[in-house]
């Protein structure tokens, strides 16, 4: 890749990543949330990986890191669902909003997202979905780029 592209890609990818995070943060109000924001973050990471290559990319996405983030996202989603089941009897019940008035106020306060809209657990679900999607999409590209290495190992 050209030097100009290499100079500009990393700063621009940081802005793209921030915009992806901003999209996740607006997921409970606007169309598009965790998935779209996660895809935008993955786009920023993929932009760097394509231009610099896996070895020289400023983002060092190790297998352990990707596995940890994806697991944290999945477990966070399950935890929020089970919390609803435990405290209200309904899986994925929105504890922060508590539309049926069946949850103690302490639990309601804990699970409520601190913003003026009282969205409850929806922003947290967007957050964990964003983590899963950003890992999933960037892992696909990393796997494709590493396919030579993997295939080479198989043939040997």
């Amino acid at each position: 890749m050209s030097t100009i592209l290499k100079l500009f890609t990393f700063p621009i990818s940081l802005i793209i990543i921030c915009y992806g995070i901003n999209t996740i943060l607006g997921g409970h109000i606007t169309p598009g949330g965790g998935f779209q924001g996660g895809a935008m973050i993955a786009g920023g990471l993929i932009f760097c990986i394509i231009v610099y290559g896996l070895e020289e990319s400023p983002f060092k996405l190790s297998h352990d890191f990707l596995a940890a983030i994806e697991s944290a996202g999945a477990l966070g989603y399950v935890f929020l669902g089970l919390a609803g089941l435990v405290f209200s009897g309904f899986f994925m019940y929105n504890l922060g909003v508590d539309i049926y008035g069946i949850v103690p106020s302490t639990i309601k306060t804990i699970f409520n997202y601190p913003d003026p809209l009282n969205a409850g657990i929806i922003p947290y679900l967007n957050f964990v979905v964003g983590l899963k999607v950003l890992v999933g999409l960037s892992a696909v590209v990393i796997a494709f780029l590493e396919s030579d290495k993997i295939l080479g190992d198989d043939t040997e």
Partner: protein
């Protein structure tokens, strides 16, 4: 001007997680010094100003989540993205 805690904390957290992965490449000829990050911070604040108070909180003139995410990236990079931590990970 009111700053709501939710977008600030979650934006910072996501940015911090990604910022910890920015590490220098010893074999690369390109190096991104502190000036690059300073310019990115200024550019991000300008972008956040033009994005407006997303997601529609009308709390501040700029997107507070956007700014907190770039601050999270920079702090994550400063804390975990140094040359020493990159070498220890390779080893």
């Amino acid at each position: 001007m009111i700053f709501y805690l939710g977008p600030l904390v979650i934006g910072f957290l996501l940015g911090f997680i990604l910022g910890t992965r920015i590490k220098p490449s010893p074999e690369s000829k390109l190096k991104f010094d502190a000036e690059v990050y300073l310019i990115v911070l200024i550019a991000a604040i300008v972008v956040a100003y033009y994005v407006g108070p997303f997601p529609y909180y009308l709390d501040s003139p700029l997107a507070s989540g956007f700014v907190s995410s770039i601050i999270g990236i920079l702090i994550g990079k400063l804390l975990f993205g140094r040359e020493g931590s990159a070498k220890s990970q390779i080893e």
